[in-house]
């Protein structure tokens, strides 16, 4: 978490545009479990973020392209098919190819504990297991978005 001061600094930086944090909520793979994705999309929206939801059965490439086109601050991927290792590896490759690997990626779903570290090694910033509170998700997404914007200002 950033210190209160740096948060304030970022807010000042953002002030002229006041562009709300924009999040892509994506379902990668072919599982149809969209309850979690929808609840989270809704919670992010209620927190004042702009949310783009992809719908189900998206490929990693489609999601990477959508993230770039929509110019999002964070990508949240929901996978409950067990194929997360495969799909996230692909997503990271696609983002890199599109020069968009600065967009932080968070993942949620039925993820076995032993897969959390390997996912983080692939570059995933946070893994949300079932039962994670919406408040925590909103906070982390906000922090990641701010960090990303802060970095952009420095460039």
């Amino acid at each position: 978490m950033s210190s209160p001061q740096s948060t304030k600094a970022v807010e000042t930086l953002l002030a002229p545009t006041k562009r709300p944090i924009k999040v892509l909520v994506a379902k990668i793979g072919i599982d149809g479990h969209d309850r979690g994705a929808k609840v989270i999309a809704r919670a992010l929206k209620d927190a004042g973020f702009e949310v783009v939801y992809t719908g189900i059965r998206q490929t990693p490439r489609q999601v990477a392209i959508a993230a770039v086109q929509e110019d999002v601050d964070v990508i949240g991927v929901s996978i409950l098919s067990g194929a997360h290792m495969h799909h996230i590896k692909k997503l990271m490759e696609e983002l890199k190819e599109l020069n968009a690997d600065d967009i932080p990626v968070v993942v949620g779903g039925t993820i076995p504990i032993p897969d959390i570290e390997p996912l983080k090694k692939l570059g995933v910033r946070e893994v949300f297991l079932p039962g994670t509170s919406l408040r925590k998700i909103v906070e982390i997404v906000r922090t990641l978005a701010r960090e990303k914007r802060e970095k952009e200002k420095l460039i």
């Binding site: 599982d31 479990h33 919670a43 992809t54 719908g55 504990i113 297991l129 039962g131």
Partner: protein, 566 residues
């Protein structure tokens, strides 16, 4: 018929309650306030402090309950229920390739399982082959990969298909998987009259909740009705459809919505089949249902009892069914996957036991108990065995199966049964006004209701109105035990490669002429609007793959894409 309680007695009780509420309760509340300002069921139905005969003032026993095995079947569809035969312990299983699933089925049979239930992997569920680009990384994970007749032959190698019944959780590709099954049984020499089991084959709930749809709603329903019609005429022991509330509930609906939407789906199918010229008593005895058993104990029991009463009434009064069997709501139950937590996962064993008990007290015909490790992955053998043993403990140790519908007459359970039924009827009336469930689904009505309910529930958890142990109460920061859960390990990449190799071999070894002719005939039959089942069966026997058969049908029927609304 006279009400169960006489008027004078109810009057006396009411007076007593009045006094109790004015005098006694406030004294207690002053000393010790209640835990919540309002108590509600998981469906948000307010729960009062106490229920008495005053809540069942006009309760007519024979009209509301009757006896087990007799209309309106509230107390059970059989006169002897579990005293004669326990529910079928049917554990959903399947992972990897057909070889792994064959071994798992034999393991479960050895441990006393009485009915098989096949879980398919995602590529199979949406009707694509393992070498389809969309299937990459998904083959064999959440269930078994069955893209050809050959795979089904391997699954049942060494298992006598005349002695087992098999549930297949499959929807848009149901005609294909049923054809694989029937063709395999034929090869074993099993006559059609002895082929028993279930295909889920419930298209409407795919759009409402499960989201493994392929075709748009209308052709999806048409294909499902084809299977039912063919099965009713050819496979007397097959349950061609399992009208499912389970997925609706898991997607976040309330118990009332689960009940109402499932019954509304059933009504739509009955109408469709009658419109095809079928006699209601010819097919209705073959319809079966599938519900969720969630954690709010009494609400679930009340839901099951209300379901039986409502369906019997609909079949008798709306559709003029004559045979008792047409009025029976036979159902399978699965404990609530969504009630399981990744936090302190061993607690899931307890949750599942309570939910299983509710299903049994609700009079289910068969039951699947979830394994405690399922928030992470498909179950390990160890976890699956505990889940099966949970059912056996309920069946053989607790005594709950020794008398029928033991909670009948509980003031609370009877009141709640009536309340849930009443609320479900209101939903059904709304759906009827929209023109039935097919129309309601096209309008997105049940989809929106569920999205709303699931968000509401999450907020209730978030804001401490509903509790989940280990999640928002009794939380542990460092969870040693989570790291010690032994998960099922298998080499997914090896399985995917094996399945790709096998399908390639099948494509190059099959009789090209028979295969080509079968797919052409299938396409033409679909274009003519004929029942596709005989053509799918021939294509399956010609070793056409699942993906090929489904692609042929997609060319005729089109493909559904859901608007991404949240």
């Amino acid at each position: 018929m006279p009400p169960l309680f006489n008027k004078d007695e109810v009057g006396r009780i009411k007076k007593e309650i009045e006094y109790w509420e004015k005098e006694l309760v406030p004294q207690w509340l002053k000393r010790l306030p209640e835990r919540m300002s309002e108590f509600t069921t998981l469906s948000g139905i307010p729960v009062k402090r106490i229920y008495t005969p005053a809540d069942l003032e006009d309760f007519d026993y024979m009209e509301k309950l009757g006896l087990p095995g007799a209309y309106p079947y509230t107390r059970g569809i059989h006169a002897t229920m579990y005293r004669a035969r326990l529910w079928t312990m049917r554990m959903f299983s399947g992972f990897g390739g057909p070889e792994e699933t064959n071994a798992r089925l034999k393991f479960l049979i050895k441990h006393g399982e009485t009915g098989l239930s096949l879980a398919f992997d995602y590529p199979t569920l949406i009707g694509i082959d393992p070498d389809d680009p969309l299937a990459e990384g998904e083959v064999g994970i959440v269930g078994v990969s069955v893209p050809t007749l050959k795979d089904m032959e391997i699954i049942f190698d060494g298992i006598d298909m005349s002695t087992v019944t098999t549930n297949m959780t499959i929807n848009p590709p149901a005609p294909v998987l049923l054809s694989f099954y029937v063709a395999t049984a034929e090869k074993q020499g099993v006559p059609y009259t002895k082929i028993g089991g279930t295909t889920q084959n419930d298209p409407l709930k795919e759009f409402i909740a499960q989201k493994s749809y392929v075709f748009p709603p209308e052709p999806a329903v048409k294909v499902a009705m084809d299977l039912i019609e063919w099965s009713v005429k050819n496979l007397p022991k097959w349950n061609p459809i399992s009208i499912s509330g389970y997925h609706i509930r898991e997607a976040g609906s309330t118990a009332v919505q689960e009940l109402a939407f499932t019954i509304a789906d059933g009504i739509e199918y009955v109408r469709q089949l009658i419109n095809r010229g079928l006699d209601v008593d010819e097919f209705a005895p073959r319809l079966s249902f599938f519900f969720d058993a969630h954690i709010n104990f009494f609400e679930e029991i009340a839901k099951f009892r209300a379901a039986r009463r409502m369906w019997a009434k609909i079949m008798k009064e709306w559709f003029g069914a004559k045979k008792p069997r047409s009025m029976w709501m036979r159902f399978h139950t699965q404990t609530a996957g969504v009630s399981l937590t990744a936090q302190q996962p061993f607690n899931n064993i307890v949750r599942t036991a309570i939910e299983a008990l509710a299903a049994v007290l609700g009079g289910t015909q068969s039951l699947h108990t979830n394994s405690f490790d399922e928030p992470f992955r498909v179950p390990s053998e160890f976890a699956a065995k505990i889940a099966l043993r949970t059912q056996q403990i309920i069946a053989y140790e607790t005594g709950v199966a020794d008398t029928i519908d033991p909670l009948a007459g509980s003031y609370y359970v009877e009141w709640l049964t009536d309340e849930i039924e009443e609320r479900a009827w209101r939903y059904i009336e709304r759906i009827e006004r929209m023109g039935g469930m097919l129309e309601a689904v096209k309008k997105g009505f049940p989809q929106r209701e569920i999205t709303e309910a699931s968000y509401q529930f999450q907020k209730d958890v978030e804001e401490g109105r509903k509790f989940i142990v280990g999640v928002n109460i009794f939380v542990e920061e460092e969870e040693e035990e989570v790291r010690n859960v032994p998960l099922l390990e298998f080499d997914q990449e090896e399985i995917e490669a094996r399945q790709k190799k096998r399908i390639k071999e099948i494509r190059s070894n099959r009789n090209k002429q028979r295969w080509e002719r079968a797919l052409n005939e299938l396409r033409k039959a679909a274009e003519r609007g004929e029942n596709i089942m005989p053509y799918v069966l021939e294509a399956a026997k010609a070793y056409a793959t699942l993906g090929e058969i489904m692609s042929t049908l997609k060319e005729v029927y089109g493909v559904y894409v859901e608007p991404p609304i949240y």
